[in-house]
Symmetry: D2
Subunit: 269 residues, 4 copies
């Protein structure tokens, strides 16, 4: 078993300098800790709670920044796409195309993403059961692209609340063969919970991340920011950058124990 | 108060002849019963459970059929749109543009739909609370289009199950001022419940529709088909066409009583 | 079909005079409106949110009051029981023994209640599916007592929230043959929603009650009080007594229409 | 930090010999592994799904067996109680009195249990939020008994399904100061999921137990049986006894790592 991979970065790209600063800071940590790192950031927040929420720098301004991060740091980069037409240009530069949870059943988007040949990371819809992801993944693999990652990020549980059912991790792994990534910061979102914006429970991020690693996920996704309370989006659930190292150290120790077992899900034999 | 309006038709457009046949049959019933009618059908099923599910005739073939239905029958037509670029051409012909539930927070789609000036019918996401719709509706009205309808179609309730919380009807009406339409056939869907396709509880359609009318909805949306079990999609929850008249007669009687009250929600004074 | 029956009264018995006053006031209304009436009140609130909440007058003080209400007004009375040992003494006087929702699977309580020969009104647990009630009802009927009423009062939906799934009404009626009563005031509870006590949405009571009557319930249960905000329990969801008549008038009209149909659930044929 | 404590045994007491055999077998394992052990078994299954389900040997026959297990093995014993009147006699012998989840808000039962002076282990109701347990625990501690354990066993999630929200562990620990025990076998129950009985997902027990240990629970509760498929109750979710040692070894390793951290929930500072 490989150690877990980290997907991290600020929710939204703010500027070229901010992107270089944050990606470099994370890279230094993951190099020290000896784990893989994919830099994540969004060029557009296409489904904000309200119209007045900030959107992002846009595709055209973002692509050169992604290219620069890749070249300077030698790390793969990830971003989310929202429309078919974005797939090809984004796929020219970006290594991992992420399908947002609300869009995970949009067939055309999945096919266009698949056709880039890049790794496709699909976030499980809040409205789906773990076993529903088999059909979602097939839309990509049957389009000729076997490189799929699934992201668990919680299921709708009453109003303005998500709950993570960790049984989904072995279920989706068994059903699809795809590596399962746990999105530790969106799983603690309280969608729409602050009226015009979404709330979040930042203090619960390590709790759920520890559970995910113990269950055997292949990677952790976590949004992080030097100053979350000033971030243009998702501040309430992002990890402050200065806490990232301690957060990861703990997870790495648990991961080592969890993956030392031959049969992680031995009851499933 | 006006009597309730019916939005009905087969889930997917199958052919020109089928569309004319079904729309004419429904028009005859609604004329007899004296209620308004908007013909609904989809040109593309963009978020089917699996890749092997049928999609539809496509935009180009559908628009002339919509135009013919409008002209021959004098009824408004409704269809759903999935990408920004579809809004303008569909808006040339179709009277009501429907935003699918999964896409109800996609800002660009809502703005592009708003800009057609047509009526925008937004399906409430299965992952949203009733009070979350205020921000969704504002994305359209703040874009200069005040003509919004909201559709209730159930909320995620555990796995592969939807539940309709009828408190949402007065809540959304109060918060937005928009008429609330109850989608009686998708509310009984069992998403993903049959593995590769969605299941449904057709026998529960009249139960939920009666409740909705008693609560004071402005309209009922119901998919109907001459032979649901042979339909390319949503067969398990569509109403057989020969039962539509009796279904509506009952609802009209309840609607008359429900709307005779001056203060439908008198506790909310 | 019979018109719907009303089960009503204050949540907790406060005193003999209060009980006579409230039961007489309700009786006058239901006599005027021509519907049946069962007087409900509790002698003990055995599962309050916290230890400091008021409990009630107790069994010994309550039984003579129940007897007096029955004799003076000629109305049947209902109360809830919490332990096996209460069934026999309560059954000497009270016509309908109500099983609290949390206790609906306690086999010994159901059997002891059944053995009184009285009508047993079972509240569906917030943690049960409609089809689970078949086994619950059998515990009473297989103990030799066929007189069972089922009460729908909402299902757990995330935290501190209940949702009513009206599909449960025909489902439970079909599965058990028992009349289904809708508890209009507990269905709008927000359990534990105020920290030390439960909250409630009184303004939603008529909305859900209208839905229930349209769906064809056999009766409505509603707690009512001359001054809910001063009541010892359940104030946030009880109906103010002066609004009861208008509330019922509206439901009676809907009930007449709903039950005029031969086949209330015709899709279920 | 102490290593985690194991609460284990067969769901229902079957006979004196069976109890001695199983408790001895578990004791041998926990002695080898160096963890604490409390023997659990029920003398009565008071809330079975249906009347025809087996109940148990009863209180009078069970108490001497509990006493013998304690004396021979030197292990504390745990059983659940369902009525006030059982508390005193059970408290004479049994070390830990367990309050069933459905009964966790029954004030009289909690007080009577508290008055035994024994450790009171309260299962969180499937219908409660983590923060609701504060009031539940206070019913015991305000009755003069500070010895409370809380058990997490999942929350209602749609119909016939439970989901475990691991955020509840630090939330309840913070709110109450009580040790949190994770019930690894009831958390995978599918209540009522087999019609007349409850189903279960035995293969998911280690998955959820690993998550719980990583999150820092004080103990694990797990029902186990030499031959679960022949057990009178809860067969579908009990752990086969021959797999118990491997199950525990893995958890112990994770527990050591999880508890090595000074600040288990450092974000909550």
């Amino acid at each position: 078993h490989l150690p877990f991979m980290l997907f991290a970065g600020p929710c939204a790209m703010e500027s070229r300098d901010h992107a270089i600063e944050v990606s470099s800071a994370i890279k230094e940590i993951t190099d020290d800790l000896g784990i893989g790192f994919v830099y994540k950031t969004s060029f557009d927040k296409a489904n904000r709670t309200s119209l007045s929420s900030k959107r992002g720098v846009g595709l055209n301004d973002a692509l050169p920044v992604f290219a620069e991060v890749k070249e300077r740091l030698g790390v793969p980069v990830l971003t989310d796409i929202h429309e078919r037409s974005q797939c090809a240009p984004v796929g020219e530069v970006v290594d991992v195309l992420q399908i947002p949870a609300f869009l995970c059943r949009q067939t055309d988007l999945l096919i266009a993403a698949a056709e880039t040949g890049r790794v496709i990371k699909i976030k499980k819809g809040q409205f789906l059961a773990p076993w529903d992801m088999k059909n979602v993944v097939s839309k990509v693999t049957d389009s000729g692209n076997p490189n799929v990652l699934i992201t668990e990020r919680g299921a709708s549980f009453g109003y303005n609340t998500l709950v993570t059912d960790f049984r989904g991790v072995p279920t989706m792994a068994r059903d699809t063969g795809a590596p399962i990534i746990f999105d530790a910061t969106h799983s603690v979102q309280q969608p729409g919970g602050q009226g015009g914006t979404s709330g979040g429970q930042r203090e619960m991020v390590p709790t759920l991340a520890r559970a995910a690693v113990a269950v055997g996920v292949a990677g952790i996704f976590a949004e992080t920011h030097p100053d979350p309370d000033k971030a243009p989006s998702d501040g309430p659930n992002m990890i402050p950058l200065h806490l990232l190292r301690g957060f990861l150290e703990e997870l790495i120790e648990l991961d080592r124990v969890a993956k030392a077992r031959k049969n992680l899900h031995w009851f499933a034999e």
